[in-house]
């Protein structure tokens, strides 16, 4: 028993177990009653956050061209910057539960086609003005405007009307969507004064830290928002972001103590870094995944047997071990994993099976001419190596796979969604509907596998309006099976978020939504 407790304590120290998990396991041992809180080690003790200090975060994925306009945020740095100064109506917690922020509650009516969000009162913007319902309406209207080029435009397309109603904002949808609150947790949808219509780049919001200096691609400085409406967050006096795009430089900065946190630790060095003194590596398995995508409407990929042959010919576990160095999990040829609500656990895992691959290849009647897979280093980290591993196993099954390597430059405009077979990645979405609607509906702009299946489309649309969770789960199970069998996506792996954190930081909670505690690391942690 004592050994078990010691093991748990070690596990917590190593970051493998949350406080809640610890207490859960302790009570499973029947220990809880006997356990005084004084016995709990470090993080497991309910710590009072300490105030003060300057938190420095080294971030990869920033450019000199980044703007403060939250709608234009398209990289890790811009995302994390948004999180400092802005708030959304709702958030999704690490447990995938809705958490109300600038909205206090949400109510659906008329088959989820009308959503009423009650807006929080007494919230002040950084410029001292009070947030009104009109500000919220203007924000969503701006993101619905095509000219604003917002990253959340796709989400807003399903909303036909936004209006203020007393202390509420009412969204009217063209078709019912039971997931709307999850969609509005999107990090682009930050409430700005007058919706940011006057100056979208002002960086004025309601977040825990105010923008003090913004040098895109170099450095950002934020200082504590003394009038923060949420007093339970924002423990640092100020937060500094240093844009460090080179992965080695980033880990060196963490090791030498120049920064307290870094994002995007290279999986190949993560194990080594975790052995370095004073530093911890934190991982969270999220919805992000790497894919090889075939266009289902172009030969030879318009043949289902050929698609299945390629799906059976990839050794997913080998890719997870070698490309992600174990920091990830195997994929199953659908873009959904257990990090999504309503995930169907009963879908069988597609195994690496050369015999079946050869069988399907033979059945496809392919003429044996080379099948070209286009990759670039930028498709996803390790894409070229992953393609080489894929080629090696496919060749064993007699499939003449050849790799064409192209430069990163122009990859997303000239290859992805254009060429019939290439490598790509998806960051994932908060709910299944959004992931499927973005990339697998017949009508989607980003339908990068050119997958067109009427039954599939109808099921997605019916699931959207279905309010009974059990029924929705059944529909999503059917959807997954269709894509698993028919689709043009080969999904070998889901990648973990890997962050590096100094031991001087306390209060860290792994969050599977996005890196650095879904961007809330600075708001929710403190110096021990």
């Amino acid at each position: 028993m004592k050994d078990d407790l010691a093991k748990l304590v070690d596990w917590i120290d190593a970051g493998g177990l949350s406080r809640r998990g610890f207490l859960g396991r302790v009570s499973a041992f029947g220990l809880a009653a006997a356990l005084g809180s004084a016995m709990l080690p470090g993080q497991a003790r309910a710590e009072e956050p300490k105030k003060g200090g300057v938190l420095k975060i080294g971030l990869g994925g920033g450019e000199s061209t980044d703007a403060l306009d939250p709608g234009l945020a398209d990289g890790p740095v811009a995302f994390n910057v948004n999180r400092q100064w802005g708030d959304t109506l709702v958030n999704v917690t690490p447990e995938k539960v809705l958490e109300f922020r600038l909205a206090e509650s949400a109510e659906a009516g008329e088959g989820s086609t009308v959503w009423t969000f009650k807006i929080r009162k007494g919230v002040k913007f950084h410029d001292g003005s009070e947030m009104t319902v009109e500000d919220v309406v203007a924000t969503f209207k701006r993101h619905s405007d095509e000219n604003a080029k917002s990253g959340a435009f796709g989400i807003m397309q399903g909303i036909s009307d936004i209006k203020a109603d007393g202390e509420n904002v009412v969204f009217t949808l063209s078709t019912g969507n039971a997931d709307l609150p999850y969609l509005l947790a999107d990090y682009h949808l930050i409430v700005q004064p007058k919706g940011g219509a006057e100056n979208p780049n002002a960086g004025i919001g309601t977040g825990p830290y105010k923008v003090k200096t913004a040098e895109p691609g170099v450095r950002y400085v934020f200082e504590k928002n003394a009038d923060d409406w949420d007093t339970s967050r924002g423990h640092y006096d100020s937060v500094e972001f240093l844009v460090i795009n080179d992965a080695t430089a980033r880990t060196a900065a963490l090791q030498s103590g120049q920064v307290h946190m870094v994002n995007r630790v290279d999986p190949k060095v993560a194990k080594l870094l975790s052995r370095a003194p004073g530093v911890k590596v934190r991982t969270a398995s999220g919805p992000g995944h790497y894919v090889f995508i075939m266009h289902c409407d172009k030969p030879p990929f318009d043949n289902k047997d050929l698609r299945l042959a390629l799906k059976y010919a990839i050794n997913r576990q080998e890719l997870v071990d070698k490309i992600l160095d174990g920091y990830g999990s195997v994929g199953n040829d659908i873009p959904i994993n257990k990090s999504y609500p309503l995930f169907d656990e009963t879908l069988p895992q597609r195994e690496f099976d050369l015999a079946k691959a050869a069988e399907h290849y033979k059945a496809s009647g392919h003429d044996g001419s080379p099948i070209e897979l286009i990759v670039a280093d930028g498709a996803f980290p390790g894409a070229v190596d992953a393609a080489a591993l894929f080629q090696a196993t496919a060749t064993q099954a007699g499939i003449p796979l050849v790799i064409k390597r192209v430069p990163d430059d122009g990859y997303w405009s000239d290859v992805w969604n254009v060429k019939p077979f290439c490598a790509s990645y998806w960051g994932g979405r908060p709910v299944q509907d959004q992931m499927y609607s973005t990339a697998y509906l017949s009508t989607a702009d980003w339908n990068d596998t050119k997958f067109k299946n009427k039954e599939f489309d109808d099921l997605i649309l019916s699931a959207r309006a279905e309010t009974d969770e059990t029924k929705r789960k059944e529909i999503y199970a059917k959807v997954a099976r269709i894509l698993w069998e028919e689709g043009g996506v080969i999904c070998p792996m889901f990648n973990d978020f890997i962050d590096g954190v100094s031991e001087t930081v306390a209060g860290w909670v792994d969050d599977p939504n996005l890196e650095l505690m879904n961007g809330f690391a600075s708001a929710k942690t403190w110096f021990a």
């Binding site: 000199s64 103590g257 405009s413």
Partner: protein, 319 residues
């Protein structure tokens, strides 16, 4: 007496301006034939035909190339580099800040590297084919042969992570004192010095050794002068022309070619700024950077030409 020199310098200057103009055409044409366009790059994955058309219209990408070139050229001549397409900010101030940073880093590296290279070259000649010469050559050739990013990682590993003498990040920003700035750029300066030292040192050594064969050096030896005095007073001034040329090439390299070092040390210089905007197809910024780089190259070569002329009496007094 001064007349031929003034004429020579004026000729060189005029030639330099002509070259700069030719470079501006090349830069403009080069940026036009890049695959994809800025509208596509800005919208990225979210591009739809309608949004693309709107954005192209807004950015003036539908006008003919020639009229865009002259519009750009006249703007530049009036000191207006245009606005960045990607974030709508004027290019001038942003570029100016980055250029100042680049010149600061390059200047700091040059102040150490140039005298050191010349001195080491002189020492090599004095002890030629003996151990100091061999040691200097071996070390400088080794550091020039190692890729810069690797040199960067090596100095970061030892000086920043292990011994914590200097910071691994060289970020500089407004409000830092000169001392803080110099401390911040310590590591990149070390790497840059190591990267350019070898070339200049070898050239100094070769040029002086060449002069050492001359009869006047023999005379100086027979006069009984000390070896180092012969090298520094008699041989070196006659070897200046080739040395200056190599020094200038290396200075130009320090300004335009250090993007890898900037990335490794997170230094906000011109290189990273240019690369970010190339990947976003932000053509006006790329053109402005290209023009500045071309100007630096042409300007430094001009200086090298003029110094070689002044240092050589035969060129100074043409028959």
């Amino acid at each position: 007496m001064a007349h031929p020199i003034v004429k020579l310098v004026a000729q060189r200057l005029a030639l330099g301006l002509l070259l700069l103009l030719a470079a501006s055409v090349l830069i403009f044409v080069g940026t036009q034939i890049l695959p994809g366009d800025v509208a596509q790059a800005i919208l990225g994955q979210s591009a739809t035909p309608e949004t693309l058309a709107n954005l192209r219209e807004e950015l003036g990408l539908n006008e003919p190339v020639v009229s865009r070139y002259f519009g750009w050229l006249f703007g530049v001549l009036q000191g207006d580099l245009g606005t960045a397409l990607s974030n709508g900010q004027p290019i001038g101030p942003a570029l100016g800040g980055r250029l100042a940073n680049t010149l600061f880093l390059a200047g700091a590296a040059a102040v150490i590297a140039v005298p050191l290279a010349v001195l080491l070259g002189l020492v090599s000649v004095r002890y030629r084919n003996r151990w100091p010469d061999k040691a200097i050559s071996a070390v400088t050739l080794a550091t020039i042969s190692v890729p810069e990013f690797l040199l960067g990682y090596i100095v970061i590993y030892f000086l920043a992570v292990q011994w914590r003498l200097l910071p691994s990040l060289a970020t500089v920003y407004d409000g830092m004192t000169l001392g803080e700035r110099l401390y911040a750029i310590g590591l990149p300066v070390i790497v840059l010095v190591l990267a350019v030292l070898g070339h200049m040192m070898r050239m100094t050594r070769a040029a002086i050794l060449n002069v050492m064969q001359s009869s006047y050096v023999e005379t100086a030896e027979l006069k009984g002068l000390r070896p180092f005095t012969i090298i520094a007073r008699h041989a070196f001034p006659n070897a200046i022309a080739p040395i200056v040329n190599v020094v200038m090439i290396n200075l130009a390299y320090l300004v335009v070619g250090v993007v890898v070092v900037e990335v490794v040390f997170v230094y906000p210089g011109m290189g990273q700024y240019l690369v970010d905007h190339v990947s976003k197809r932000d053509v006006p910024v790329v053109q402005a950077c290209g023009l500045v780089f071309a100007g630096v190259y042409i300007g430094l070569n001009l200086i090298a030409d003029i110094v070689s002329i002044l240092a050589n009496p035969r060129l100074r007094h043409p028959k």
